[in-house]
Subunit: 259 residues, 3 copies
């Protein structure tokens, strides 16, 4: 893996300990499908999730929370409005916010909105290869929420996007890449089974948001939580008998990684 | 079971293989309660779920997806509008779409909307006995989302509805019936425990949608996925210790049926 | 625990039997995060859940259901409108309704709405310590949806609230207190792990709603379902290996408590 840095087990353990110790309160504005799983993943890592979506409340809460997640799956015009207020509020309060551009590139309405959000300077962006390429305007788009490209294909787009918008981009897939446009971490591990359970990517974005609320190097923190999620995915894959038992095993593994 | 055809294990295995091989992308416009479970059921059978609800996006995506599911649980005026656009878009693109008339007959607003949707020629309709009877305007309605009638009671209504609207109607319950008004399949199996876990019926409707995207006889494909879901329900009931462990066992069973 | 009454195992068993026998149909207007879990908890206890949110339907259904739950998590202006209609409809039909004031005190918009709802005479209110204190206007608010106070801190506020609005207030936490302002039950048990799984409090509110639809002393019925949920939480904590396996174990335990 020459040219890429890798993240090690000691850093991962420290990141998990920091998540539990600081217990960041994460304001999740996310899609309808993954709300429960996202909340339970954050809780398993010692974080506090809160889903607040009404415009007035979203604006107020984004300034109070430790970080804000904007996930554009099941986007609506009403949620768009609330998301704009929340992002501006987070920015004003100096709180990190993360964009998960679900199916960007494939659907016009949300792609347009993601481009608008890019102007509001996300702290980080987490997507699959097709989404990151779709955001940049290269590639052939995804198949719904699934990627048709490898993360390696998407790396140049991610590096370009990170530099152009002064953000950190995490592309998740068989190998995750986390880049600020200068430095790039490659994170291996995980299992393809993770893509057959809804919400593993969306939940990762929530944990990326939590990692942005920790002290220390954001690039390393984000790469570290990518590694943590892959590690839990591997453990769960070994223990489960299908995608049904994967979910409880995955959350149990996240809890157990603490020790 | 004279007078009814039955579906056999060889057909079920072929249907599962076809689902995994074709991996239809299913546009689910469904209720708030069952989104995660619906997505995970489709994924366990090798299909790709995507929940897209904003009107402009729903219209665009319905033409791209392999099939569209319209489930009227937690219906709102906004969703109604998006559903209309999506259905018309699916029809224009020649894509199958399936109606799940949750609690039709019991609640006025959604019953009216279901009648409107019937004019837009659904490829199939999947409901419980009270819902199918409610749609036709016979029977005493359900108790919320639960059926107060047996599927056998509802069969004449289903056959009438199928003929009148040139669609296939699947009534699920202790025995499922799948009819185009001429031919009728009876599908036995399953377990009453399935009715004590939220979303098993709604998820079946999503899988019925996926089956409509396969090649071959739609009536047989739909009866076959009804049988597959019953089979997984039976396995899960044997393995679980209550309704909590039913859900992971059910999804695991769906995964394992592939082999 | 002098000064407080306690609830005993015989009463709990009778309450569970009554829930299964009467199978109350609970109209849940609740937040996006906990819908599936809430439905499955009600089903595990033999009740029928139904989530109906469109204004016209919510008004119609609240009069048909056995009880109505109003949970203000993920509140929106549209849902507010539907909730007002539903509450007035439940009141007119003489049906019990329960308020779960999620994050009241912490967020202005929902606190204002909760105060409005208090004028509409809820049968019961179920919240954590910070929420009950926030509703009364004492204390320092919660951290998002988590409580920063003990239930004992909140008991005076709960007793005041119960008297002032002629309702029953249940504060859940390490010890649950259930009070009508005159009599107070203390319910011990449970496990802190329950706070690390999203929706245990929200689901309790749904079961409290169901208990209000039973015959007998409402105060005792509510205290009893608090005890039942704590008991299931204890069993699940003993059996699980983390927060992931907690959920199926909790639902299984609720099913098994029937015997």
């Amino acid at each position: 893996m020459s040219g890429f840095e890798t993240i090690n087990a000691i850093i991962n353990t420290k990141t998990i300990q920091q998540l539990h110790a600081k217990s960041p309160l994460i304001h999740c504005m996310t899609n309808d499908v993954v709300q429960t799983f996202t909340a339970n993943v954050l809780l398993a890592l010692g974080c506090s999730p809160a889903m607040v979506i009404e415009p007035e409340e979203a604006e107020q809460f984004a300034a109070m929370a430790s970080g804000l997640l904007i996930n554009v799956g099941t986007l609506t015009t009403d949620r768009q409005h609330a998301m704009r207020l929340a992002v501006n509020s987070a920015n004003k309060a100096g709180k990190p916010w993360v964009l998960d551009p679900v199916a960007a590139g494939a659907l016009t309405f949300r792609t347009r909105f993601c481009h608008e959000l890019l102007m509001l300077k996300p702290t980080a962006i987490r997507g699959n290869a097709s989404e990151i390429m779709g955001l940049v305007g290269v590639g052939r788009g995804g198949k719904g929420v699934d990627s048709l490209n490898t993360t390696h294909d998407a790396l140049p787009a991610a590096q370009h996007l990170a530099k152009a918008t002064n953000t950190i981009v995490a592309i998740s897939g068989e190998i995750d890449y986390v880049t600020d446009g200068e430095r790039t971490f490659a994170v291996t591990g995980g299992d393809p089974l993770m893509t057959r359970v809804v919400g593993t990517g969306c939940a990762l974005s929530a944990v990326v948001t939590a990692s942005c609320a920790l002290s220390g190097d954001k690039l390393i923190n984000i790469a570290s939580v990518c590694a943590i999620m892959k590690q839990a995915g591997e453990i769960a894959t070994q223990r489960c008998r299908g995608t049904g038992s994967f979910t409880p095993e995955f959350l149990d593994a996240l809890c157990q990684l603490k020790q």
